[in-house]
Symmetry: C2
Subunit: 334 residues, 2 copies
DNA sequence: TGTCCTCCTGTAAACGATATCATTATATAT
DNA sequence: ATATATAATGATATCGTTTACAGGAGGACA
């Protein structure tokens, strides 16, 4: 009992397979009467054309692949899921399907994962690849239709947060609350960290606050690294009144360190995070943070990628989205 | 400049396409010498066989699809991501690839999403479908290789938490801490809620504590519903000393309600959650809860599904996994 | 009546692999 | 020398579609 194919339909409807195919693709050059007859047979047999066969001859699979970083500590679930939901929802408008690929030995010697090349997919979403990612390089040189989400490139399309203005908003919020001695805990060096630091400096300058490099203490996006950094910052001779961390987890680590030092949040020190993760909502006190429009980034990424797939020669397109400051109880006026 | 195909290889290596195919599938009936020659050409041209073409003739796509519920409020990101990570990691051992499908109008009239049928995938993962899910019914009657994760069926394979023993562990932990008046906030009625309630009753009986139906106050897995339920429970004439909620979010809602009533957690009332979500870790106080082995469920699901795909006629297999009690600061001895 | 269009339909060749069967070359047995 | 087995290879059909091309039917027009 094999699947019914276009041949079966043709036979029963007493037409050629070509005609059935024309009906399927509702070509105008088929008689109304025969069209109706064919459709009836199709419905009776509950026939569904094979996308595999169609892909083979058309040379397009209508498959897009989402490359997921191998969940390092800084890559949290909510981040990914929101983007995926955005992609998934937007895809319902298009005739494309979504595959997931999560490289395992990411930094291993292997360059481009063979599985991807073999399965001719039409385009790639890449979430937050690192700057030196080999896969990105490969896509750039091979001109594989790709859209970077939360990363940048001169050759590929991308969507990213405007990290600089987001940072500026944070600092202006803190300055507005009366803070002047504001420390920053950047994450691993990457596109966004650089831009956030830039924004931090710019906002300070705008408000005539002198930049003090001892107020910068890096982390690796983990909770522990946030705690470590905060500990050092608290030991500084000049007393800080606020800490701005490059993600929520480090901010929460900072809160822990501040408590351990016998100080309170936001009583003694205000803390700002970044990302608006679950952790921010449920931390104690709830964390002021920056919300990235992940869902919309995913949605928009679909549009850009599909257009790229259909017009591979278009010049690359870039899009910056704005972050939104979410004020909760970890920050206070002084 | 089209993709290089098996024909090109054959031509350059001066063999037939059949031989190239044999080399690709390392058949033993090909001379060592020609094999070497063919391989060299393959590498030179960086040829990768088309999985599409292979799928067409083999009748197998080597594509598995993960059906994701349309993120209702009770379906949180960490839940899904952990399962997906498990699946994704396990898949590296097999020659299968992963697709994602997230139905949108889930409860709408449409039964089986056409996109799935058209793209012949070999098997389906379904996460926590509801009992009356039409897609599940479809898979059951059409004998589509499917594994349910966190759900059950008489016909399909499944992996689920042993909800009853998990519940028993929770109650025994609370009883061990001296609690006797323990309320339960179940979630929406489904497989797991029923079993958890069963376990709750069984554990009470075992410790000769009379079951009191007024101690049961249902919610819908949302934070607000947890708060509402707790409020009612606190208003009971008989004073409870502990609340066990069927998920973390409702537990956190309960904590908020308890605070609003002027009581403290765990000072006056101990609270237990379920799932070990991020929210549990970062709530204040950190929430005692039950950790479900999501990652391992995903991993194991791959094994079961692949075996099912390869032997469709096997009798269905079921697997129960055990939950682990995570003790944090929301529970206290009395 | 013959020519040219238009409209519809069918035939057959793709797409890129695998699988079946046939064929050749070589080795071994008689 | 002939028959037979074995190893390596090639020719060709096949999977389920789409598509270029070729026709046939019928009408319009000279």
């Amino acid at each position: 009992m094999k699947k019914t194919s276009i041949k079966d339909i043709a036979e029963i409807a007493k037409v050629s397979t070509a005609t059935v195919s024309r009906v399927l693709n509702n070509s105008p050059l088929v008689d109304e009467f025969t069209k109706e007859r064919v459709i009836k047979v199709i419905q009776q047999l509950n026939y569904k054309p094979s996308l595999i066969a169609r892909s083979l001859i058309k040379g397009k699979t209508h498959l897009l692949t989402l490359i997921v970083p191998p969940t390092p500590n800084f890559f949290s679930a909510f981040y990914f899921t929101q983007i995926m939901n955005g992609i998934s929802d937007a895809l319902t408008q298009y005739e494309y399907r979504l595959m997931i690929y999560q490289p395992h030995g990411y930094d291993a010697k292997l360059g481009y994962p063979p599985q991807l090349e073999e399965f001719q997919m039409d385009g790639l979403f890449m979430i937050a690849p690192l700057m030196e990612d080999r896969l990105v390089k490969h896509c750039e040189t091979e001109k594989i239709p790709t859209i970077l989400i939360n990363a940048r490139s001169h050759i590929l399309d991308w969507i990213d947060l405007n990290n600089q203005t987001a940072s500026i908003k944070v600092i202006e919020t803190l300055v507005g609350l009366g803070h002047k001695k504001i420390a920053f805990i950047p994450g691993l060096m990457g596109y966004n960290t650089v831009a956030r630091l830039e924004g931090y400096k710019e906002a300070l300058q705008k408000h005539s606050i002198r930049f003090d490099s001892s107020f910068i203490e890096g982390g690796d996006y983990s909770l522990e690294s946030g705690a470590r950094a905060a500990k050092k910052l608290l030991a500084l001779p000049k007393k800080i009144t606020a800490i701005y961390a490059a993600n929520d987890l480090m901010a929460i680590g900072a809160i822990q360190a501040i408590r351990e030092a016998g100080l309170s949040v936001p009583g003694d020190i205000s803390v700002f995070g970044f990302d608006d993760s679950d952790a921010a909502r449920f931390s104690q006190p709830p964390l002021s943070t920056v919300k990235q429009p992940f869902y919309n980034m995913g949605k928009r990424a679909v549009q850009l990628l599909v257009e790229r797939v259909e017009k591979p020669e278009m010049p690359p397109r870039y899009e910056e989205m704005e972050g939104e400051v979410i004020l909760r109880q970890s920050t206070k006026k002084i």
